[in-house]
């Protein structure tokens, strides 16, 4: 038993922190907020060179072959930098779906491309019904001419506008259990009948799209995994992506705490640094409690999904429930303890505050995950 990071992981953290300080300062983040693409080809290529686009993919597919605990370290640093761009959507959604469900040749083609920075793939899962469970998948895929025809609307799709392909969750059959009859399709972005609309979002560092499919035809080889059996791998993808997101959220929350304690040491009011006042000090202590617990439960979940232990779904939901609340609370406290400056566009706090809010609802907020925890502990 060992509940710490090894030396390689500590090195990865140090490297990543330095990298993002140099390559992803808030001036860059802000540029990308205004840029519809949300990322530059140059930055993306650098991520590829670091090996981070393929960090968790097998070496046979151009990846580095590391695990989710390593990834958690990297994601924390990305969260600390509120890194913009389609990393999450490509590596943890589209790419991971292919890794979990795809055929050898699909993996070889796409994971290799993703790892090298040559392709971006996102996952089109959620719909206007805003459900996270299998019943939320209603987009229809009909069998036709040896292939499939897809029709329906996907909403809150990360980075579809810059993706080369989308893994689309569709319904191929209406069975008694909504978990049966879900199939995954790899649809090229330029497929006829597929339309992507970039939506204005509160968190401008993360781009969301509406994707409409009108009689989009794909071949049988577009199927990722078995027909009608797409939910199981998808659920694993969602759990894993949620845990990775939690790690990113922890990094952001830690950064806010750092900014806030630094500020509390230098901002003078009534002749003293504000951090000397207990109203401030105790709120900062509360922030620390939230940050530390958030990390603990996330690290455990990262290990659990990595090892695929039986408790992995429970661990993922515990983490997402805790961290969703914690990041929001910590971000709000950060703004409060900064006073007026914290409310300005110029100060970076709002970047984190908005990222916290967006992340909170991505793959289910705390309320959703607490209910899932209740189910998983057989309440």
């Amino acid at each position: 038993m060992d509940f710490g990071f090894n030396q390689e992981q500590e090195m990865l953290r140090a490297t990543a922190r330095k990298f993002f300080e140099n390559e992803c300062p808030s001036t860059f983040v802000r540029k990308m907020m205004d840029d519809p693409a949300g990322v530059t080809p140059d930055f993306w290529q650098k991520l590829a060179e670091q090996g981070w686009l393929g960090l968790i993919y097998p070496e046979a597919f151009g990846g580095v072959g590391l695990g989710f605990v390593d990834l958690a370290v990297l994601m924390e640093e990305m969260g600390r930098a509120v890194m913009p761009g389609p990393y999450f959507s490509t590596v943890l959604l589209g790419g991971l779906a292919i890794q979990e469900a795809g055929s050898e040749s699909q993996k070889k083609e796409w994971l290799t491309k993703i790892s090298g920075g040559a392709a971006k793939v996102t996952l089109a899962l959620t719909e206007p019904n805003a459900r996270w469970d299998a019943a939320g998948v209603t987009l229809q895929a009909r069998e036709a001419r040896g292939g499939f025809t897809l029709s329906g609307t996907k909403l809150f799709v990360h980075d579809a506008h810059t993706a080369d392909a989308l893994v689309v969750a569709a319904r191929t059959a209406n069975a008694a259990s909504p978990e049966d009859g879900v199939s995954l399709f790899l649809v090229p972005k330029d497929a006829r009948g597929l339309e992507v609309k970039l939506l204005p979002t509160m968190d401008q560092t993360r781009k969301l799209c509406e994707v409409t499919l009108k009689d989009v035809s794909v071949g049988a080889d577009a199927l990722v995994g078995e027909k009608g059996k797409g939910w199981q791998p998808l659920a694993r993808v969602v759990d894993r992506a949620a845990v990775a997101l939690c790690a990113e959220m922890c990094g952001g929350a830690q950064k806010i705490l750092d900014m806030t304690t630094e500020y509390a040491k230098i901002r003078i009011a009534f002749g003293k640094p504000i951090g000397a006042y207990q109203g401030v000090k105790h709120r900062a202590a509360d922030m620390l409690v939230d940050v530390e617990n958030a990390k603990s439960i996330t690290y455990y979940a990262a290990w659990a999904v990595d090892e695929q232990v039986a408790e992995a779904p429970l661990a993922a939901s515990m983490a997402k429930a805790y961290v969703s609340d914690a990041y929001r609370k910590v971000a709000a406290a950060g703004i409060q303890l900064h006073g007026g400056i914290g409310f300005t566009w110029e100060h970076d706090l709002h970047l984190y505050f908005k990222r916290a809010k967006g992340s909170e609802f991505t793959f289910g907020d705390a309320t959703y995950h607490r209910e899932r925890v209740a189910q998983l502990i057989n309440l």
């Binding site: 951090g275 409690v289 530390e292 290990w303 607490r370 925890v373 209740a374």
Partner: protein, 398 residues
């Protein structure tokens, strides 16, 4: 990072599990449905026996050196042991102040003679220890304590008063902080004594608490003679002696807290599953489910945060922020748990032990009341937050 047990750890766990199965009588578990971290007076007798059994089997003082009755193991085995105790709904350890505080302090500061004299008897529960720190005018601001010890040849003579002294009525020894140099700055004139509670001049008066029980006491010293050989860590060095073992104390006490919280939570889940509200069991109510799930998550978070601190310690590093948050998080979670237990019982929550109508023989009523102390005893939540703010986050003193 790896949560799997090594084969050795696995076999240690099995050893504990098998032993507990054999040696923990059912009727002892039932009394601690959600027992407090300091045991109730009426339970002292069986708890003494329970600890003796643990000692005889080698399941107490795991991390203490072998030559003093320990097993020379690490906090990891301690972690595993406590997980098993939680699963088995084991009762608390009676001499916890001796085990988590007096013992480690003696190990760190004691002379060879002192170690030989006291340590094994702490583990076996032959000698119970209490903690004589707080006074009527010194609680959070402990360093302003006034109880005096005056040198008298080979002895010291102690006069003064302690208060809120848990388990003093059953204690054989006290960790006593007393002022030996009233002219020195307040942190510099304090000495740590090992005081025999059976000495002439010591009187103990139980204080009734909001639970109705009297688990803590007033202790008066009237010219009590303490041999100079019972000074621990040097004259006027008491503050340093107290401080250095604080982190160890936090972790050691933390194990017990984790067990109590887990047992209470499991009991609460059971309560929710059989309590009817509006015609259906409470555990089906969406709001109750939310609250219980949150408690579950918070209990796990407490455990893993502790585990991170232990890992650092085992790697020879000083635990950082993760070691500081446990106490307040535990209080917050446990008090909320007890609130929810009352809520689930509806109007039945008013009934105390003594009627068949009381839920679970009224045990929850006791634990609910007892839980108010959690954020006061062992350093108040406000003081803990000051410490986190100043020592961990580096904020200026007020």
């Amino acid at each position: 990072m790896d949560f799997r047990l090594t084969p050795e750890q696995e076999s240690f766990r099995n050893e504990v599990r098998a032993w507990v199965k054999q040696n923990l009588p059912k009727e002892w578990t039932s009394r601690v449905i959600s027992g407090p971290d300091v045991p109730r007076v009426e339970a002292y007798k069986f708890l003494r026996e329970w600890q003796k059994r643990l000692f005889d089997a080698g399941f107490i003082g795991l991390t203490w050196p072998k030559e003093y009755g320990g097993r020379g193991l690490t906090f990891l085995e301690e972690f595993i042991l406590h997980e098993e105790m939680a699963l088995a709904k084991a009762p608390p350890v009676l001499n916890i102040l001796g085990i988590a505080m007096a013992g480690p302090t003696i190990i760190a500061y004691g002379t060879e003679e002192q170690k030989k004299r006291y340590l094994a008897k702490i583990l076996s529960c032959e000698e119970i220890w209490c903690q004589g720190y707080s006074e009527p005018n010194a609680g959070s601001d402990l360093a302003s304590l006034q109880c005096r010890a005056i040198r008298d040849g080979d002895d010291f003579r102690v006069t003064g008063q302690k208060v809120w002294t848990s388990i003093a009525q059953a204690a054989d020894w006290m960790m006593l902080l007393a002022r030996t140099d009233p002219d020195a700055p307040k942190h510099k004139g304090i000495t740590y004594f090992l005081l025999d509670m059976h000495s002439p001049g010591v009187s103990v008066r139980p204080l009734r608490q909001i639970t109705g029980d009297a688990e803590f006491n007033e202790v008066f010293f009237d010219n009590v003679s303490v041999p100079a050989a019972n000074v621990l860590g040097g004259i006027n060095n008491g503050w340093a002696v107290r401080i250095t073992t604080l982190m160890y104390e936090r972790l050691a006490l933390g194990f017990g807290l984790q067990v109590r919280l887990r047992i209470a939570l499991d009991a609460l889940v059971g309560l929710a599953q059989r309590t009817k509200t509006n015609g259906d069991v409470a555990s089906k109510d969406p709001i109750v489910r939310q609250k219980l799930a949150q408690l579950w998550i918070d209990t796990e978070a407490f455990k893993y945060t502790g585990a991170r601190a232990i890992t650092k310690l085992l790697k020879g590093e000083m635990p950082g922020a993760e070691a500081s948050t446990g106490k307040i998080w535990w209080c917050e979670t446990h008090q909320r748990l007890q609130d929810i237990a009352m809520e689930l019982q509806g109007p039945y929550h008013q009934l105390m032990a003594g009627t068949d109508r009381a839920v679970d023989q009224g045990l929850w009523q006791y634990t609910y009341l007892r839980s108010r102390a959690n954020s006061v005893e062992g350093g108040t939540t406000e003081i803990q937050k000051n410490i986190i703010g100043e020592r961990v986050l580096g904020l200026p003193k007020g």
